[in-house]
Chain length 360, copies 2
């Protein structure tokens, strides 16, 4: 088993806010960090011991990066396959290639989840006009056509309202491999942020209720108000997914909650093999944050206690909303976290804040 002791170096692929928060968590554990990211606004560079600014295609720079670190992790799942192969030949990559390959393709992910007998929406592969012609029969209507890869925050998605609409939606998305997913009239969304380490230890944080606006997370609220049994089921499903992937690190599983006469029913929406926006509140309301928990898991440390000591609501700060930093900083009981990004483009995640209140 890989153990990276204090003084060791964690390599992080990706220079955004998640990489930044991972780097700070690693530093608090006495670890050094080396961040690899392509040119751009890379706020993680500001808090890392070292950084490499290069493309994920630059296998030479990737190799030099790998050789400079003790373990490699990442803040996002869309890492090219050649880069993954190159890196894992040189250093432990955690979470593993299996976790990456399973989750970076929406169809592969759904197929994997369904294969575990866990509940997902009806889905169909759309890689050709012929696929498009039959997909609606599998999913029913309405449905959402999504690119199998590289989608995030609602990008690469088209709503489809009729069987005939699937083909034109597929053309709109550039005829790349897609997945058609049956539309669910869900009551709300929730997620499980959990960690598993090489020993098979598993620890889940409490389950937040997540509200999205324009496909971007707006708030995560604890407690979620969902039934105990629903939360327990969600954690158990996440545990099964983590075990099946022999997972090392923090993962996030997003769920739809459907309200029915008999109660609440869960559908697994998406798996992220990384720390997740809906877990940012852990830095303010738990002894160990999701970022520290991830670093512990990928470095072979004992997992931390995920106990939540306060109720809370985490809100994202999007685009120009960051101009209100001073009012937010003045709020008692509010933990403010800004990412140091230079440009406040519309909808861009500039920071977040967590309002705390005593546990009910």
């Amino acid at each position: 088993m890989t153990v990276v002791a204090p003084g060791g170096t964690v390599g992080i692929l990706g220079g955004g806010q998640l990489g930044r928060m991972l780097a700070m968590a690693a530093a608090r554990l006495g670890l050094r960090t080396h961040v690899f990211a392509p040119p751009g606004d890379n706020p993680a560079f500001d808090v890392a011991h070292a950084h490499t600014c290069a493309s994920y295609d630059d296998l030479e720079r990737l190799a030099a990066f790998a050789e400079a670190v003790d373990v490699i992790t990442y803040e996002f799942e869309n890492i090219p396959a050649e880069a993954v192969a190159r890196l894992e030949a040189l250093r432990p990559l955690k979470p593993s290639r299996k976790a990456l390959e399973t989750t970076q393709d929406r169809w592969t992910e759904k197929d994997f989840v369904a294969g575990l007998g866990l509940p997902v929406v009806p889905f169909a592969n759309v890689e050709s006009a012929a696929d498009a012609a039959v997909a609606a029969g599998i999913t029913g209507m309405p449905a959402v056509l999504k690119t199998r890869r590289f989608g995030y925050d609602g990008k690469g998605q088209v709503m489809v309202r009729s069987g005939a609409g699937v083909l034109s939606a597929w053309e709109t998305l550039g005829e790349v491999p897609c997945i058609l997913e049956g539309f669910v009239d869900f009551a709300c969304e929730m997620s499980v942020i959990a960690a598993r380490n090489a020993d098979g230890d598993f620890a889940a944080f409490d389950v937040p209720l997540n509200v999205h606006e324009n496909h971007i997370l707006r708030t995560s609220t604890l407690p979620s108000g969902l039934r105990e049994e629903t939360q327990r089921q969600a954690v158990e499903m996440t545990h099964r997914i983590a075990d099946a992937l022999e997972y090392e690190g923090v993962l996030a599983v997003e769920f739809f909650v459907v309200r029915e006469e008999e109660g609440e029913r869960l559908l697994i929406n998406e798996i992220a093999p990384r720390v997740h926006n809906s877990g940012h509140w852990t830095e303010a309301a738990c002894t160990v944050s999701q970022f520290e928990q991830h670093i512990r898991a990928v470095c072979g440390w004992p997992l931390g206690d995920p106990l939540r000591f306060a109720d809370c609501e985490m809100s994202n700060i999007l685009g120009e909303e960051v101009a209100h930093w001073r009012e937010l900083a003045a709020e008692p009981g509010t933990v403010l976290h800004l990412y140091g990004k230079r440009q406040a483009r519309p909808g861009r995640k500039m920071g977040h804040f967590t309002r705390l209140s005593p546990r009910r």
Copy 2:
């Protein structure tokens, strides 16, 4: 008034663990940092956007550093006067030169505190054999002879048990300017960690009980178990000191508590114009840490709410104790913080941990 908004740069003098924690707190507020420190093991460099590795005598490098930042602060008070003059000519220095000059000399500091009518031990200046001959008459015996400048963690101190011993102690300390302080048989030690900003707002954290071993802080415990009235008095004295210095930033005031028949009596031992080891627990048990509070104050932000939401005990990890990192990491309810220092020399502060428990 200086306001450094998100995106601005905070200059930090000193590359040790305090500078490191200040840099991380600044990063969480979307600020960049530039750390200036002489060659050596500088763990703050690992988490700073930029660093300058040069001597405090290098006025040219100091000027370039100042020009690269929006405000300058520091992790330690022993900054040479020429450096201070050079820096404050170019950028706001916070806390101010007045705070530095008052606190970097033990005699000046005691004279200042006594001048405010606040309680200190009897003290006498010892700069010559003639001073040494009369000092014991002022302080009584036993007493402690300390160098007026550059002492920390018990360095530069000699216990004196007779009037005749003052001269030889002074010779032992190299005949540099010294202060003789009457020895106090105190019951315990406590400190106030508080912040004041340019608007004159003042916010004190709860008061820890501090236990030292070999002159090095071992633990800080909250609540302190001291009388409410004693704690209130300590905070009020700190407030008076902060106002008298027109202070901007976090300061720490260390107190001796003497138990008498009538109750508890306070004596001010030392003022540190900076974040302080006895305030490290704030990162684990408060919404806003002392580090963030300091950054807020020196950047002209609103002060944070110093509310403590958990009881706790912070312990330093000294020297080879850092080898127990894995056991500490496995403790539920414990926040571990390691500084990333390379060599675990005896007594060296390598990290700290805070054990949390629900508020009584």
